[in-house]
C-alpha cells in the first residue's frame, strides 16, 4: 500500500508549490508606495492644458488616482465601473492619462463617458514611473494626509471596488 501512495505524495508536494506560486503572482507584488506619501508632480490638465494640477491641492480629501490610456484594452473593461462609481459617490477621481495622445484621450472620454473630476496628461510617462506604474490601468487610494493607502494593479473589478476600495474610503473619510 505505502509504495502505491508515492504518486499521491509527489502530487501533494507539487500542489504545495503551485499554491505558493499562485500567491507569488508577479502581478500581485505589493507596491513599495503603500504607506508612503504620494509622489509630488505638476502636470497639465487634459481638457485645459493651460491649467496645472498637483496632488498638493487634494490635501484634506480622500481621492482616487486612476492611471489610464485610450490605447489600453483593460481600461475599457473597468471604465463602466468608474463611470458608475463617479455617479453614485462623492469621491474625487483624478485620471492620470498615461503616454497617450490628448486628442485620442478626449475622444475616448467623449465616447465612453468621463468619470474623472479631472485628468492630467503624463505624455512621456515620467510621473507614471514615480508611481511605480508597470501596467495600465492601475488605481491608487490616497488619504487626507496625501498618503497612498491602496493600489489596484490591473482593472478595477466589482469585487475590488465593493470589497476593498469602498470600505477603505469610508474608513479614511471618518479618520
Amino acid at each position: 500500500m505505502s509504495r502505491f501512495l508515492l504518486p499521491f505524495g509527489v502530487f501533494l508536494v507539487l500542489l504545495g508549490f503551485l499554491f505558493v506560486g499562485l500567491k507569488l503572482n508577479p502581478r500581485e507584488v505589493p507596491s513599495p508606495l503603500i504607506g508612503k506619501p504620494v509622489p509630488e508632480f505638476t502636470l497639465p490638465q487634459l481638457h485645459e492644458p493651460a491649467k496645472a494640477f498637483s496632488p498638493q491641492s487634494m490635501r484634506g480629501r480622500v481621492w482616487l488616482l486612476n492611471v489610464w490610456a485610450s490605447w489600453c484594452v483593460s481600461c475599457r473593461d473597468e471604465h463602466p465601473l468608474l463611470v458608475d462609481f463617479a455617479k453614485n459617490h462623492q469621491v474625487a477621481i483624478v485620471g492620470l492619462n498615461y503616454k497617450d495622445k490628448p486628442d485620442d484621450a478626449q475622444a475616448w472620454l467623449a465616447q465612453l463617458g468621463d468619470p474623472y473630476t479631472l485628468s492630467v496628461s503624463d505624455l512621456e510617462g515620467r510621473v507614471g514611473i514615480d508611481f511605480g506604474v508597470y501596467g495600465v490601468p492601475e488605481t491608487f487610494v490616497i488619504d487626507k494626509q496625501g498618503v497612498i493607502r491602496y493600489k489596484q494593479i490591473g482593472a478595477v473589478t466589482v469585487d475590488a471596488l465593493q470589497g476593498k476600495i469602498l470600505p477603505l474610503i469610508r474608513e479614511l473619510d471618518q479618520g
Binding site: 508577479p26 507584488v29 507596491s31 513599495p32 484594452v73 483593460s74 512621456e124 510617462g125 511605480g132
Partner: protein, 149 residues
C-alpha cells in the same frame, strides 16, 4: 528465487536510469540556469563575472541609438533608480519600445556595458515582463528605504 533476481534487476535498472537522469538534470541546471538581476544590482557589481545573466527594467526614453551598420543598437535599461547601458547586434523584437519593459540576456563587459545576446519584449500591450516589473519595484523599495533613513 529467479523471479526475485529478475525483480531486483528491474529495480536496479530503474534506479540507474533515475540516477543518470538526476545527474543530467543537476549538471544541466548548474550550467544553464540564467539568473535575473536588476540594473541596481548590476551597477553595484553584485552579478556573476563572465557568466550570462538576465537584466530587466524599462528602456529609458530617448536612449535608443543605432550604430552606423544599422544593426547594432545601444540603449539604456533602467529600474528608475540605476541604469545600465546595453549593446545589442541584431533585430529587435516587434514590441521593443522606449519607455516599455524589456528583458535582455547577456554579459557585462569591463567597461560596464551589458552586451546582450538576446532581447525579449513580451507579446502583450498592457504589461511589461514581470521580471522587469520586479526590478523596478525592487529599486524603488531600496530608494524609499534610503530616503526614509
Amino acid at each position: 528465487m529467479k523471479a526475485r533476481h529478475k525483480r531486483g534487476l528491474l529495480i536496479a535498472s530503474g534506479v540507474l536510469v533515475l540516477a543518470v537522469a538526476a545527474g543530467l538534470v543537476l549538471s544541466a541546471f548548474q550550467k544553464n540556469l540564467v539568473f535575473f538581476f536588476t540594473p541596481s544590482q548590476v551597477v553595484a557589481r553584485e552579478v556573476p563575472v563572465g557568466k550570462p545573466f538576465r537584466i530587466g527594467g524599462m528602456v529609458a526614453e530617448r536612449s535608443l541609438q543605432r550604430e552606423r551598420d544599422g544593426l547594432t543598437v545601444r540603449f539604456v535599461v533602467t529600474d528608475t533608480v540605476k541604469s545600465v547601458p546595453v549593446q545589442y547586434t541584431g533585430i529587435l523584437p516587434d514590441l521593443f519600445k522606449e519607455g516599455q519593459g524589456v528583458v535582455a540576456q547577456g554579459k557585462v563587459g569591463d567597461d560596464g556595458v551589458f552586451v546582450a545576446t538576446e532581447v525579449l519584449a513580451k507579446h502583450d500591450e498592457n504589461y511589461m515582463p514581470p521580471e522587469a516589473a520586479h526590478a523596478v519595484e525592487q529599486a524603488q523599495n531600496a530608494q524609499k528605504t534610503l530616503i526614509g533613513n
